[in-house]
């Protein structure tokens, strides 16, 4: 059995907006004498859009219509229709995520792009998608090394640390090529990010830009990048540049890799440093010099400026386990907050733990739909399954009374038997998935079943918009 899904990725970044179309191949990897095990076996990028400057109405407002026109135009050029797009993700990144209308633009665009094109944002997720888009997770797995990946864009640098194919940490720095914009004609500074305002003498809007004027800015930024990798001792600078709401990266003894627009300026800088009307080329060259001086050879990923969009298009979706339970569910389910029970509570009084935590998710309007996430047991007896089913049902009772339905997301292979155990005593909609690991604060999107109904596509994300 082989099936392909058409997936679209859209990245609305601080400086650029891009789109890719990819094909994900689903295959049953188990032998014909076993329970099915469907996995994504291949990811091919079939279309890459042009790279557009992100249209803005002002410094604080995204041009929603402009973005939409870009997407519509690229769909036409790629020869795809909205109803052909089975999955994918729109990600709004860097400084653009902080614009006033970011949330509205994001949800409108994901709706416009396809039924199961999900809206994503948040510096941690962006770091992960960029690293995966650049293929760094695979590189670290194949070579059995630790790689700290930097996706350096216009507004932010997204850091993800992978060792042996496993994600170890993410972070984000307010370091980017477009935190200062320069009018290419007059060579005068046209924009200074609020983060940098007043920090550097003379670096103000209207001042004439020169390499010398910008040197202190670049030095600080590069210093913070090096500190994150442990190439310099961490100082207050690292704290200062670390994006609010993320933890500073403190890696050491790692390989480095780079993507994002600035990565191109490391490897193939434009002849004129003012080519893009920002300090990207200078930042890229500065990084190159700093690495060369230390004899550091960067690992080269498969994507640079497109890493994030490829990550969103090809690496945001996963599939559930292949033995799951669903009844009367109207897919897709979008933006379902995750209520995670930790393993300690799972083995104790589970029902009380669930109803206790359920209250956290209540607001003035009462409860809302949540997905209950558990680890589950490795090889439980049937009586344990029954006990689990009863505890879940008792714990979720307040939710069910308000007309919501149980969504249970497990890590261990347990969903089908749990679903069947719950089915007789719960009327109507019921959904049990496994093979998925999620945490509190995550959101989950679940698409309609594929691969002959054996699996559902799942996107796990964090939608934490930064508070201004």
């Amino acid at each position: 059995m082989t099936e392909t899904l058409k997936s679209v990725g859209i990245d609305i970044g601080t400086s650029t907006t891009q789109l890719v179309v990819s094909e994900l191949t689903l295959q049953n990897q188990s032998n014909p004498f076993s329970v099915p095990r469907v996995a994504i076996t291949e990811k091919t990028i079939v279309y890459r859009s042009e790279i557009y400057f992100t249209p803005l109405l002002s410094d604080t407002v995204i041009d929603a219509k402009g973005v939409r026109e870009i997407v519509a135009g690229e769909y036409q050029r790629a020869g795809i229709r909205r109803d052909e797009v089975q999955t994918g993700a729109v990600i709004i990144t860097g400084e653009t995520a902080r614009k006033e209308n970011a949330r509205e633009v994001l949800s409108a665009l994901s709706e416009f792009a396809g039924d199961f094109v999900v809206a994503t944002a948040g510096p941690d997720l962006e770091s992960i998608l960029a690293a995966r888009g650049a293929g760094v997770d695979e590189i670290s797995k194949d070579k059995h090394i630790s790689v700290l990946h930097y996706d350096i864009g216009g507004g932010t640098s997204n850091l993800a640390l992978y060792s042996n194919g496993h994600l170890r940490a993410t972070s984000c720095l307010d370091v980017g090529g477009r935190l200062i914009k320069i009018d290419a004609g007059s060579k005068r500074i046209a924009y200074v990010s609020p983060k940098l305002e007043g920090r550097f003498p003379g670096v103000v809007r209207g001042a004439e830009a020169s390499e010398a004027l910008l040197r202190p800015v670049l030095d600080e930024m590069i210093q913070s990048l090096l500190e994150a990798a442990g190439l310099e001792a961490p100082s207050a600078l690292l704290e200062f540049y670390t994006t609010q709401g993320t933890k500073p990266m403190k890696a050491s003894g790692v390989h480095l890799s780079f993507s994002g627009g600035v990565a191109d300026c490391i490897y193939t800088p434009p002849a004129d440093w003012l080519a893009y009307g920002d300090m990207g080329p200078l930042l890229g060259q500065g990084i190159k010099k700093a690495l060369d001086r230390r004899g550091v050879q960067a690992v080269q990923g498969v994507e640079t400026i497109r890493a994030t969009v490829v990550g969103a298009g090809a690496h945001s979706m996963d599939v559930s386990g292949s033995t799951i339970y669903y009844r009367d569910v109207s897919f897709p389910l979008k933006n379902i907050p995750v209520l995670r029970i930790d393993p300690m509570e799972e083995s104790g009084d589970l029902a009380s733990a669930i109803s206790e935590k359920l209250r956290w998710y209540a607001d003035e309007g009462g409860l809302s739909q949540v997905a209950l996430a558990l680890e589950g047991e490795t090889s439980p007896s049937y009586s344990r399954v029954i006990a689990l089913a009863e505890a879940i049902q008792a714990g979720l009772a307040p939710l069910l009374q308000q007309g919501f339905f149980p969504i249970v997301v497990l890590e261990r292979d347990l969903a089908k038997v749990l679903g069947q155990a719950m089915a007789p005593t719960i009327s109507g909609t019921l959904l049990c998935l496994d093979g998925i690991s999620v945490s509190n604060g995550d959101y989950i999107d679940i698409g309609a079943p594929v691969a002959g109904g054996t699996v559902v596509p799942v996107v796990v994300k964090t939608l934490a918009f930064e508070k201004k």
């Binding site: 059995m1 082989t2 099936e3 689903l26 014909p32 004498f33 076993s34 329970v35 059995h144 042996n164 194919g165 033995t323 339970y325 490795t378 090889s379 439980p380 007896s381 049937y382 009586s383 399954v385 292979d413 347990l414 969903a415 089908k416 038997v417 679903g419 069947q420 155990a421 089915a423 007789p424 691969a451 002959g452 109904g453």
Partner: protein, 300 residues
């Protein structure tokens, strides 16, 4: 060397290893360490070590990387060596696993296990384990007395006949059959199917399904049976599910779910999957290759 000589040699070696007899060879080595039992200390059970996490190579180039690979396979990789040979621990573990495999073939499912689970016990034409192992044909048929019990237990033309067979691993049945069957029953219930009592067949081959189908006219015969054990696990169970089982039905008409054990597909999740398979078979009136082809036509 004849058999008696070989036996006495082995006995002497075992005794030497256990430190119970003085070595008769010239190279005397004292086995002082073998005195754990007298000090009340238990020997470590080497079969409890997870082979996927055991890496015995000295001074490895990259142990972490090797362990990542090992996590994906139960194969005995990275076991190190003593000269050209296995290390003692590896050799003993291999023999322990082999012994477990042999035990599971030669032992019988406990009668208490059958009673506690309210299985109705029947027996094929085989009278002993030896006969069972040497005469597969007799493991597929029942005598008149057992035929009568089967008919009485399952009735005429049931939708589903649930059968547990010891097969080649009694350990597999004792480890998995109970939980798996409970899950199958619960699953069938959600589809509105009541399968009735389950049979336990002693000295059972998969082909016994066909005789049971023939005798009762069951639409689907679902048999949980112990798999031929290997060195990875002695507790692996399979489900053979046949639509319209009757004597002479081709093997291609069976659907099989194998590798049901703790490290494979778990008993309960397999049970849930089997229940759904049975429901599909009742709808499509097919099993085995025929069913797989129908599914392919419908799916991708």
């Amino acid at each position: 060397m004849n058999e008696t000589e070989l036996r006495s040699l082995v006995e002497r070696m075992v005794a030497e290893l256990a430190g119970q007899a003085p070595s008769s060879s010239g190279k005397t080595t004292s086995y002082q360490q073998a005195d754990h039992a007298s000090s009340g200390e238990m020997l470590k059970d080497i079969t409890e070590i997870d082979l996927r996490k055991q890496y015995l190579v000295k001074n490895p180039y990259n142990a972490t990387a090797f362990l990542e690979l090992k996590a994906k396979t139960p194969a005995r990789l990275g076991m190190g060596r003593a000269g050209a040979r296995y290390k003692t621990e590896t050799m003993l573990r291999m023999r322990a696993d082999h012994a477990a495999a042999q035990d599971s073939v030669f032992s019988l499912v406990e009668e208490d296990f059958v009673k506690q689970n309210n299985f109705v016990a029947v027996q094929t034409l085989c009278q002993t384990k030896d006969e069972y192992l040497t005469r597969p044909d007799r493991g597929r048929r029942f005598d008149d007395e057992n035929q009568a019990i089967i008919k009485k237990t399952l009735g005429q033309s049931p939708k589903v006949a649930l059968v547990i067979g010891d097969g080649l691993s009694s350990a597999a049945i004792e480890a998995n059959a109970k939980d798996c069957l409970q899950a199958v029953r619960a699953g069938l219930k959600t589809f509105g199917i009541d399968p009735g009592p389950a049979l336990f067949v002693k000295y059972c081959r998969v082909g016994a399904s066909d005789h049971i189908g023939e005798l009762t006219g069951a639409e689907v015969v679902c048999m949980l049976v112990g798999e031929r054990p290997g060195l990875v696990t002695a507790e692996s169970m399979s489900a053979y599910i046949t639509y319209g089982a009757r004597i002479g039905i081709p093997e291609s008409k069976r659907t099989v779910i194998s590798n049901i054990h703790r490290q494979g597909t778990t008993a309960v999740e397999a049970g849930a999957h089997i229940a759904e398979l049975v429901k599909t078979m009742l709808e499509k009136k097919a099993s085995g290759v025929e069913l797989a082809q129908m599914e392919r036509g419908r799916g991708a």
